[in-house]
Symmetry: C2
């Protein structure tokens, strides 16, 4: 399986699940953000986890789509005027710029219910596993995950914060969703607890590396590369690795987390070209 | 069991479940709206459904609290400036007026994950039942329920809409949550399908009666009685029963739905003082 193959399969499923019904406006708004050309990193990682362990990935498709919908929900709400106030995302107008703020908020809310219902109604697994997966999903979505990161992120704007708080924000805002993707994949692959723990660590390191690379490219790249307004973090004085450590030290930290990811793959004899490619792609983002 | 007894038990549980953790701000914002003196109609109806059929209600407490959290989530987001733009709710400042818009949006998002996790982690029922309950919860929360009603409601402002659309909005925006409460109660009481259908109809009629009474008191009562700015519906030219039928005809329709509720209780020999009291209290609201 190649990266692009996964991407196509995931996007076909997302399109299917999000078939337009009445009232059309809400479905169109949801589709606008979900079918908006994302990299699909999180669902690919979920599927690849299962494939790496069991040889097949099909059982993970509903959960993979649910995780991508959750990711899109968080982006729609993050982009709102009262949050990060972004007009562009992936080179296109953000949801609220196209559909208006009220519809954008409702589209996000709708995805937060739509996604777990995909797991409930389409996952071909026993009920115990389903409940486990749903719990992982909500751990990432709510006060134990993304929301905790986002509230601390907004709260830290313009403030001097500690390295602990910076790490906390990144681990919740970004790593939580990678963790959830890989943990759900692991649960569907029926792994033992020690393997689950190793894969969870991989996801945490990957999430940190990914967020540091995001901080670096926000500070150094143009609108054309980013697909959104650059240097936004600096403008609102957000807590970022670049602000905290400077550019060079941030790159060293990025490499550190990428190496830890590779160590885990090697030490556990996890054979996955996709994961190696993903880790390398993060390093390439900033060079 | 009296109304006030249920209320106390529910509020104690809500307080327990929403224990403040880090990051405190999000928990405080969630608590502000959830522990804000609501009537607790929906959780009481959920518990009373179980009690009416099985003689006990305790098994329903986690679901009852989840349904109340969902109700509060919908109110927090409905009150936002880009939605209904309300400064007051139950006589107190709305969530975004106290905590700011971004925190209010996140508190709503957080409740949408927190509530189903209460069902997952605290409901003492088998996994099949748990999945059924969760599905009912999301049917009410998402595009098949509240969100569908809210998007059509906003979309209809200032427009001439049909009676079908008005009924659709009310059934989704208001009845869906009563339906969900009573259906979850019925599932937990392990009723047969015909009884489930009768109780669902009861919830639908009750929801319509409740929303009509809401439309009437918005048009006729003062801030002191409402706890929020009166005549808001009229100001933004919302689709309401009062706008559509006028005050007298709306009261006739309200009585019609209340009578249908009583019919269902009587025809099925459902013995519940609480339900009769609730139906009567809706009629009393407008007189």
């Amino acid at each position: 399986m190649k990266f692009e193959d996964y991407k196509k399969i995931i996007e076909k499923k997302l399109d299917e699940y999000l078939e337009i019904k009445y009232p059309e406006k809400i479905y169109k708004s949801m589709r606008y953000s979900v079918l908006n050309g994302g990299k699909r990193l999180r669902p690919i990682m979920l599927l690849e986890t299962i494939k790496m362990i069991t040889g097949d990935y099909v059982i993970g498709l509903p959960s993979a789509c649910a995780i991508e919908m959750l990711h899109c929900q968080s982006l729609i709400h993050d982009d709102l005027p009262c949050m990060d106030n972004d007009d562009y995302r992936r080179g296109k107008l953000t949801n609220h710029k196209v559909y208006g703020e009220s519809t954008a908020i409702l589209a996000g809310d709708a995805l937060l219910s739509f996604a777990p219902q995909i797991i409930i109604n389409y996952s071909n697994v026993d009920k115990v596993t389903k409940i486990k997966i749903l719990n992982e999903f909500f751990n990432a979505a709510g006060v134990y995950g993304i929301i905790a990161g986002q509230i601390m992120d907004l709260d830290s704007e313009g403030k001097d914060i500690s390295y602990e708080t910076l790490s906390y924000i990144h681990s919740k805002k970004t790593s939580a969703l990678f963790e959830s993707a890989i943990r759900i994949g692991s649960i569907l692959a029926n792994v033992e607890n020690d393997i689950l723990n190793e894969l969870t660590k991989f996801a945490q390191y990957f999430g940190m590396a990914f967020q540091i690379s995001d901080d670096i490219i926000d500070a150094t790249q143009s609108f054309e590369v980013l697909g959104k307004t650059p240097k936004k973090d600096e403008k609102v004085s957000k807590a970022t690795f670049v602000k905290f450590f400077g550019l060079d030290e941030s790159k060293i930290k990025l490499n550190y987390y990428c190496e830890r990811c590779c160590d885990i793959l090697e030490n556990n004899k996890f054979k996955s070209k996709i994961f190696i490619e993903l880790v390398n792609s993060i390093k390439k983002r900033v060079n």
